[in-house]
Structures are given as structure tokens and as C-alpha cells.
Amino acid sequence: MSLLQVENLMVDYLTPDGALRAVDGVSFELKRGEILGLVGESGSGKSTAAMAAMRILGPPALITGGEVLFDGRDVLRMSAEQLRRWHWREISIVMQSALNALNPVLTMQEHFLDTIAAHRPELSNAEMLTRAAELLKMVDIDPRHLNSYPHELSGGMRQRVVIALALTLNPPLLIMDEPTTALDVVVEREILKRVLQLQKEMGFAILFITHDLSLLLEFATRLGVLYAGRLVAIGPTEIFRQGGIHPYTQGLLQAVPQLRGKREAFKSIPGSPPSLKKPPNGCRFHPRCPLVEERCRKEQPVLKHVQHGHQVACHVRT
């Protein structure tokens, strides 16, 4: 049984000018210990999907359809208290804006204590402190920083703290929403290495969200590609390394500049992603698609298996 199963998830934002569907029928599953990457451009609904599945998106977001099962439990029917208990013990998140995720007026120690106490009230203060120090060491931070305030730490350090916080209760699933985009390449590398190392040691699963496809290619087990609120392709990373099947995936892969090899002309996908307020009919990618056919303009494609567990939503390629 898969750890997390998201089935046909629909998430709306209620805006003053009507509802806006940010996630439209997204389905994916995640097994224990696996790393699933979600890519997509800005605004494609990656964070919305992940956070709605975890149910930490407040209004005006609204889940209007679908199903989320965690270890067989129906997340969408959980009460507030059930949610509270589920969070962090079994699923934790490193948010996109991790740099702003820490309360500016609390020290690191208070963050850890608050978190532990919320789930393990039986622990003594000293035990909690020991655990906090241990966690910091795990992400290569000197435990003396327990007494530091967020503004006293560099961006990279804060990011590590947030990761350590996510691991506080050893959850089987960790959502990492662009954990490193705000950071320098060098720091990004260092942190990623650490996370992967920990993942190997502790065996938690990761839902890794980013718009940097080339990064995911390096370590994800499987990859999903979101475009304008819809999942257009999902499957083992290998297929993506080979160039992908969906025209959008292919475009994305070609648009990444190469460090090695020949310097070639810049390849890009013409046009820009659609606005979710007025998405195009049919396949949402069709205005930018080089392979566009008549049917793409009218009919919405659904995910279909093509090869080796790889699914794409494309009329032309399936």
C-alpha cells in the first residue's frame, strides 16, 4: 500500500472575482522511502497541491473534490484534532519560504520545544532539549545556536533548522517545497546532500517540489510534471533523463542550459504559461505546443500509460 495517495484532487481559491481552480484533478501516489519530484512553472499549483493534501492551506483555498489517503486514512475527513495529531508525527513539511517560516521573536530552542511539546507532552524539558541539540547536529549546525534568533542565522542555516524541525518526530513523509531556491548554488548543494544522506539513513519518503528540473533529475525516484494546475506527465526519472515524452516535458528539458558539451542555440518553449483565471480549452498546453492538433484545442487529455509506468496526458503522444 502506498503511503500517500492523492486521487483527482481539486483545489479552488475563492477570489473576489470568483473561484479559481489552482489544482485540477491531480493524482499521484507516494510509496514509503521513495522520492517523488513535482516540477512545474511558477503558479502551476505545486505548492497548492502539496499543502492542500496536507490540509494546511487556510481559506480562501478550498478542496472541492478528490480524495487524499494517508496510510489508508481519509485525510479529507479528519477532524481538526486528528489533523493536528497527524501533522508532524507522520507528515511534515519544509515550506517554500522556509526563510520566513521561523517566528522572528522566538529562539531556535523555543521552536523545537513548541514542536515537541505539541506532540510529546510527556517528555521532560531536558529530554526535549537533548533531542533539539541532536537534531541540529544532524543538519551540521552547532547546538549553541539553539539560543539564537532567526535573524541571527544565515539563510542556509535557517534552511537547515527548518529541515531539522521537519525531522523532529521522525515522520515517514517529508514534503519539501522548493527548499533551496532562495539559496546559493553552493549552499543548495550542501543542504541537498545532507537531506539525501538523512533520507538514506532514516528512510522517510520525500515529496520534493521544485521548478528546477535538472536538479530533480539528479536524485528523484519518480517525477511528476504540473502544467497550469494539471498533471501532464508522471513516471520514473529515467524516462525524463532520456528526454521525456510529453511535448511540454521535452520543451522544459531542452530549455535547461548545459554546462558541458557543445554550446548550442537557446531552445525555449514559445509563449508563456496560461492564467488560471482563463485557462485555454482542451489541453492547456496547446497554445504553446509544437505538435498541436485540432483535438488538443477541444478535448482535455487524460493521463495514460505509455511505457515503464510512465503516464502522460497528451492526445498526440498516446
Partner: protein
């Protein structure tokens, strides 16, 4: 820690400068205005005074024809030794001792009103933001805004006549009951609170809306911030999120506002004191104005300013304790 001390010292330096500006302003205002201060001061004697008596009094009041800078230094020297001159309308009482009787009452009244109003207002604001669009959030802000739009003194007058004069629930004047003697005794303390209740209540009602709205608005911003979502995601209890994460951060900008409001509320308190015959600075001030008691007027302005500056410094200390970022 070093940084904190530096911060406090820097603020202290600023207040010293502000105090100097106030002191200088205080010196300059009467001298920039048309007319001879002595003339004005003795005008009230309606000519019964002989010129020699006036000359003698001028000397007593320290009005000289010395060059202005010399007067200024004399003035500064006197101030430093706690001498603000002699009150004309309470001659020969020094201004300092006239003011002393009222200052503590003013601080008591305005201070308690301000603190209650601030605590109540920010709590209401925090709750309104926490339950966005709820009953409290939709009714309280416009209602309190309407109440706050009434002039302080107008509310005070109405309250005095309805609850004091009409219904007789509250005393009509003074700061403590006759027959009790000021000090640490229960009848006096209870009486003092009883006497302050109505004036304080009008001030609280008039200023509550401002605090509530300010808190609500910052709180709404804070609630949308990432560390709130993150705190909730970590499964913290809602109360903890509300108090430790949301309210505590939203409070910070409002505490700065608290400092700013001190002067304003004290001003409103002056009007309220006048209505309620509360023996504070406000009544003294208006009395000084009516009696053309310029030394007293200046002394009052100066002490009020210094009190506000001092209170602001306390606010700075509180901010420092609450917001680690100021220790940067």
C-alpha cells in the same frame, strides 16, 4: 547585550535631544510672541499696582532685560536645578510644587486608561483577526469607530451628566473620596479607583477602536505570513499559535504606536480631567491658560513632555524585551 544597551542609549540620546527641543521651544514661545511677558502677567492686577510694585515683582519672577542668550542659560541653569519659576496664579508657590500635586493623578488616570484600552483593544483586535468575518470582526470595528469619533470631552460630559449627576452612580469630581487620606490604605485606593472609573471609561471607549483596528490589521497581515502556516502545520495547539506566534508579533508595531499614542492620550486626558474636575495636569493647564499664568503653563508643557518622553523610553525597553530584532 552590548547591542541592547547601545540601542537604549541611542534612544536615550534621542529623547534627550527631544527634551532639549521641548525645553528650548518652551523658552522661545513666550519670547517670540507679541507683547511683554511682564505686562501680560501683571495685567490681571487691573492697575491697582504701582510701578514700583511691578518692578519689584518683575524681579521676583526673574524677568530681566538681559540679552536673550543670557536669559536662555539662566533658564537652563534653573531648570537643571529643578526650578521652573514661580506660578503667577499661586504666587509664591514654585511651579514645581504646583505641578507635583497633579502629575501623579494625571499619570494614574491617563496611564490606567491607556493600558486598559490598549490591552482590551489589542485583545479584541487579535480575536477579530483570528476569527475573520466573525461576529466580532464585523460588528466591533465600525461600532468602535463610531464611538471613537465622538470627541473625548463630549463623551465625558455626557457620561458625567448621565451616570454622575443623573443616576448618581459615580462621583462628580475629585480623585479620591473626602475623608480618606492619601496613602496606602484600602479606602483611599478603592476610592481612587472609583473616582477614576468614569473618566477612564470614557477615555477607554473613545480610544478602544483605534487599538482594536490597528491590532486587527497587523494581525491579519501576520496571520497570512509563513510562520503562522508553519506553526499550524507543526500541529501546535491553536491557542499557542494565536498567542505566541500571531499576537506576539502583531503586538510589536502596536507597541511602538503605544509610545506615540502616549502624548495623544495624555492630551485627551487633559480634556477629560477638565470635565471631571480631576485634579491632574489637564485642569491645571487650562487654569493656567485662563489665569495667564505663563510660568505654570510652560512648566506643565514641559513636565508633560518629559513624562511622555520617559514613557516612550520605557516602551523602548519593552520593545527591546519583546523583539529580539531590535537587539541587532
Amino acid at each position: 547585550m552590548n547591542r541592547s544597551i547601545e540601542y537604549l542609549l541611542r534612544r536615550l540620546g534621542f529623547y534627550a535631544l527631544a527634551a532639549w527641543v521641548a525645553i528650548t521651544l518652551n523658552f522661545l514661545i513666550p519670547r517670540m510672541m507679541p507683547g511683554d511677558p511682564a505686562q501680560i502677567m501683571f495685567a490681571r492686577f487691573k492697575g491697582e499696582m504701582s510701578p514700583s510694585a511691578i518692578a519689584a515683582l518683575r524681579e521676583t519672577f526673574g524677568i530681566t532685560d538681559a540679552p536673550i542668550w543670557q536669559q536662555y542659560f539662566t533658564y537652563l541653569r534653573h531648570l537643571l536645578s529643578g526650578d521652573m519659576g514661580v506660578s503667577v496664579s499661586n504666587f509664591p508657590e514654585p511651579v514645581v510644587s504646583v505641578i507635583a500635586t497633579g502629575l501623579s493623578w494625571s499619570i494614574f488616570l491617563a496611564g490606567s486608561a491607556l493600558i486598559i484600552s490598549f490591552i482590551l483593544g489589542t485583545s479584541l483586535g487579535a480575536l477579530a483577526a483570528w476569527r475573520r468575518g466573525g461576529l466580532l470582526d464585523s460588528i466591533a470595528p465600525p461600532l468602535l469607530a463610531l464611538l471613537g469619533a465622538f470627541p473625548y470631552f463630549w463623551m465625558a460630559m455626557l457620561a458625567l451628566f448621565i451616570f454622575g449627576f443623573g443616576l448618581g452612580w459615580f462621583p462628580l469630581w475629585h480623585a479620591y473620596p473626602e475623608g480618606t487620606s492619601p496613602g496606602l490604605n484600602l479606602p483611599f485606593i478603592l476610592g481612587a479607583f472609583y473616582h477614576a472609573a468614569l473618566p477612564a471609561a470614557t477615555m477607554i471607549i473613545a480610544s478602544l477602536g483605534g487599538w482594536m483596528l490597528a491590532m486587527r490589521n497587523t494581525m491579519v497581515g501576520i496571520l497570512g505570513s509563513d510562520y503562522i502556516t508553519y506553526a499550524r502545520a507543526r500541529g501546535l495547539a491553536p491557542r499557542r499559535v494565536l498567542i505566541r506566534y500571531a499576537a506576539r508579533n502583531a503586538l510589536l508595531p502596536n507597541i511602538t504606536g503605544f509610545g506615540m499614542a502616549l502624548g495623544f492620550v495624555l492630551g485627551g486626558a487633559l480634556l477629560t480631567e477638565i470635565i471631571f474636575s480631576y485634579p491632574g495636569q489637564g485642569y491645571l493647564l487650562i487654569q493656567a491658560v485662563r489665569a495667564q499664568d505663563y510660568p505654570l503653563m510652560q512648566g506643565l508643557f514641559l513636565t508633560i513632555t518629559l513624562a511622555v518622553l520617559g514613557a516612550n523610553w520605557l516602551v523602548d525597553i519593552v520593545t527591546l524585551m519583546l523583539d529580539p530584532r531590535t537587539r541587532r
